[in-house]
């Protein structure tokens, strides 16, 4: 694999969304012909039984899983969505229910560990929603989804058990910092 193909593969992996060939050329400061050549190399490799392949539709390219693995991946996706949340995810969800909208840093602080992957999974399962913080656009805040509230059978979060008391404790921690 040549250096340009390597860079393009890394870029697409990091980017995580389809990009146009023109964007690739601009971002990586490479001529369009170089990009096309390298994409050719990546396509060839994709045929070579790798797990990650170059997906191209029209002008856009991205990375995806090899079609041969589709069946397995599909089954895994189903399994993932039906799996129990587990202790850590439940804890995170509980914090978002009581305290939402809440920043990731606040969740991490209460839990004492990094919650980024758990939040991603809760988002995919539609249990929480994400929005930009009113005060700082670079920061996201997380809230319980309406479906989750319906599923729990609560109309307002204040109906959650011991709501006032829990909120008071959570606020007490924040003040300490």
């Amino acid at each position: 694999m040549n250096q340009h193909a390597q860079l393009i593969e890394a870029f697409l992996f990091w980017k995580g969304e389809p990009v146009t060939v023109r964007e690739l050329s601009k971002s990586l400061n490479l001529a369009l012909e170089v990009i096309e050549d390298s994409l050719g190399v990546l396509t060839e490799q994709s045929e070579d039984g790798r797990g990650i392949v170059l997906v191209r539709y029209g002008d856009k390219v991205t990375l995806g899983t090899h079609p041969d693995t589709s069946e397995a991946i599909e089954a895994l996706t189903k399994e993932e969505l039906s799996r129990d949340l587990g202790k850590s995810a439940l804890e995170t969800l509980a914090i978002i229910l009581y305290q939402g909208p809440v920043k990731r840093s606040q969740i991490d602080y209460v839990r004492g560990v990094n919650s980024q992957f758990i939040l991603r999974n809760l988002l995919m399962r539609g249990l929480i929603d994400r929005a930009q913080d009113e005060h700082d656009e670079r920061v996201f805040v997380y809230s319980p989804s309406l479906e989750l509230l319906a599923h729990l059978g609560v109309k307002r979060i204040s109906e959650l058990p011991d709501f006032e008391k829990v909120i008071a404790s959570l606020q007490a921690f924040e003040k300490e910092e």
Partner: protein, 279 residues
């Protein structure tokens, strides 16, 4: 890109950690300041300054900090005493303490050096994580274990896991070791008796090789050795006197000395003994 990919460590609370330096940090700084290697000799050389440093410790951390300084100080004094009076008997337990201190210092020195290198490398040629290819996916898929009860149980568990700040004294453990004061006293006694023995020992067995020396020179060496012992002992007593100032401070320890049964036991901050446990 999802949030995780763009802002890996931003916007997190930074907890104020140890603003003070621990006894090993202080000791290592003293040795490094003098550009010495870590061994009995260098430890003996910095003993006095270390004890002075410990004595000056104040502030909210004061008591907790001092406890850990005192246990290191007691080992240093032992090393000093032994270096001044080689004939002094050291118990096997004390030998272990001394070797242990040296080992910890060497490890800390190495880890500091490695840490510095890591600081230079950190973030320089990163391996980047993949962007979130699946962020568009959103399928409402509640799990069986989600319910009001499990949510309530989880929030309580989360609340319980937040560490308590300084308001609460750290759990401490009593170790039946001598206080610094007791240690000084017993050391003084041990040194005096060792000293008496030394003079007899010297007349019998010279401690340095005198093979190539003539008689007059041998006498000279012996005299120098005896003088050295006397001078050293006086120096040590001086040191002990200074240390008594710290030894007095053990009174303070008594205040937080909850459940102390035996007098003269010192508070050991439970560094190594109190493991953080799975909640």
């Amino acid at each position: 890109m999802d949030e995780a990919a763009i802002m890996p460590t931003q916007h997190t609370y930074t907890i104020k950690t140890e603003q003070f330096e621990g006894p090993l940090d202080v000791l290592l700084n003293l040795i490094e300041k003098r550009k010495l290697l870590i061994n009995h000799i260098s430890l003996g050389e910095v003993t006095e300054e270390f004890i002075q440093f410990a004595h000056r410790l104040e502030g909210p951390h004061g008591l907790r900090q001092k406890a850990s300084f005192v246990s290191v100080a007691s080992i240093l004094i032992l090393i000093k005493a032994k270096s001044l009076l080689p004939i002094l008997d050291i118990t096997p337990e004390e030998e272990v303490d001394i070797a242990d201190l040296e080992k910890r210092l060497k490890m800390l020195e190495l880890m500091r050096k490695v840490g510095k290198t890591l600081g230079l490398v950190y973030g320089k040629t990163q391996i980047f994580r993949q962007g979130n290819f699946r962020r568009e996916i959103r399928i409402f898929a509640p799990a069986k274990d989600i319910g009001i009860d499990s949510i309530f149980e989880s929030i309580n568990r989360a609340l319980a896991s937040v560490p308590k700040k300084e308001k609460e004294l750290p759990k401490v453990r009593m170790r039946q070791v001598m206080s610094l004061e007791d240690m000084m006293e017993s050391l003084s006694t041990r040194m005096q008796s060792a000293l008496k023995m030394t003079f007899t020992a010297f007349s019998k067995a010279p401690q340095i090789s005198t093979v190539n020396l003539n008689d007059a020179e041998i006498v000279e060496v012996k005299r120098a050795q005896k003088q050295h012992v006397v001078v050293s002992f006086l120096a040590l007593l001086e040191l002990v006197k200074q240390n008594m100032l710290i030894a007095d401070q053990t009174e303070n320890f008594a205040e937080i000395d909850i459940g102390a049964t035996a007098p003269g036991a010192i508070l050991e901050e439970s560094l190594s003994d109190q493991e953080d446990v799975v909640s």
